[in-house]
Symmetry: C2
Subunit: 248 residues, 2 copies
Amino acid sequence: MQNPSAILLVIGNEVLSAKVADENGPFLARRLHALGIRLLSIHTIPDDVEEIVAHLDRVRARCSWVFTTGGVGPTHDDVTIEAVSRSLGRPLARSPRLEEVFRAMHRRHHAGEEIPVAALRMADVPSGTRLEGDPDYPTLVVENVVMLPGVPEFCRFQFERFATALAASPFKLACVYVRLGEGPIAPLLDRVVADHPTVEIGSYPRFDGADHRVKLTVESKDEARVIAARDALVAALPPGAVVRVEGP
Amino acid sequence: MQNPSAILLVIGNEVLSAKVADENGPFLARRLHALGIRLLSIHTIPDDVEEIVAHLDRVRARCSWVFTTGGVGPTHDDVTIEAVSRSLGRPLARSPRLEEVFRAMHRRHHAGEEIPVAALRMADVPSGTRLEGDPDYPTLVVENVVMLPGVPEFCRFQFERFATALAASPFKLACVYVRLGEGPIAPLLDRVVADHPTVEIGSYPRFDGADHRVKLTVESKDEARVIAARDALVAALPPGAVVRVEGP
């Protein structure tokens, strides 16, 4: 896949009610970008089956991969797996291999004690679910939906073991730091944007007394186009306006 | 409004491509919760008019307030105001008062120099837009849509000047810290959840050697119901399982 894309569903009432600051969204945004996978949107939604199903229905066909974080534990507010099952029309079925994974994990962490029967509902997954990545703590993937845990340490582990294999051609970035504010440069920026429709040009003002007032970014997977747009920007800016240029 | 709710649209390619870590989402989640306003979802989406319009169309009727952050500056990637205009069917019109605000702000920050004409497009807002909060740096509100800036310092300022007046009855929270893991307590938790449908009960495991393995939260605007559910939880847990109880 040359231009893979992703949409992220961050699932958890605790993020919306600010009991927990979400770490998984920023982590996945950073890692997906580094892997050359375009993140199209992030939706932070409650532990509500209907809401999760509605989002899955809307986004599944719009991207290469849907990542969900959270809602995969054994308690009443863990409803992500059920929502994926419903959205895909794939009934839940006990995975014997996953059951053995949870049994072994429990024995390891609880001095040989057996896992409670109720907790084994974590091994009920949509039919056709693949166990990818690490065999002892596998990443659950069904069709193009990757169901990651909410605990940040586990989320990172399961993501890394699975997603590194998805790496695509990298994004190339150039930055132009400008002494002027956004107001005076907006018209010339419009022209460069119009002339370079295949690169993504961003304009980020700052107001904190740094050595520049605006950072312009030029990004694309095509390095030649990044360089062309970067050079066009520098040429269009008034003499002396550019503080410095970085990359690619 | 006794039970106000909000949905947040974080608008900006830079967050999705991890060039910037979003501070506005976590800030608004925290402040809205403290003000007794339920945050229903957060959608982080690109600087794309169609995408913003689609989200506005979907969420406007579902909550008391829609907050947007970002996309209100003068450059090509600032398309939030146009999207709000389209979604509400309220054409853009120059606000003379807002034009004067931007002229004065520019003179203040640029040693008396006049604002570039192109930058005055920031004063073109959906017809019917109210300028609320601080007269020198007003918050833009039209119908139930509040358009906040993306620069975190300005976002916080405009939010605080506007939203404090929205404060509703506060949420009441109790926490029960439990020595057992989620597996063994899941069945009893299910029963307490079923018996207390009007409070929100959350279960948050941790795996870092703290003095508890699970933090259970009980939240509602009705303190008596929080206390009843909290006491039911404590009574349902096995003897010795509770490490401590907090609030309300």
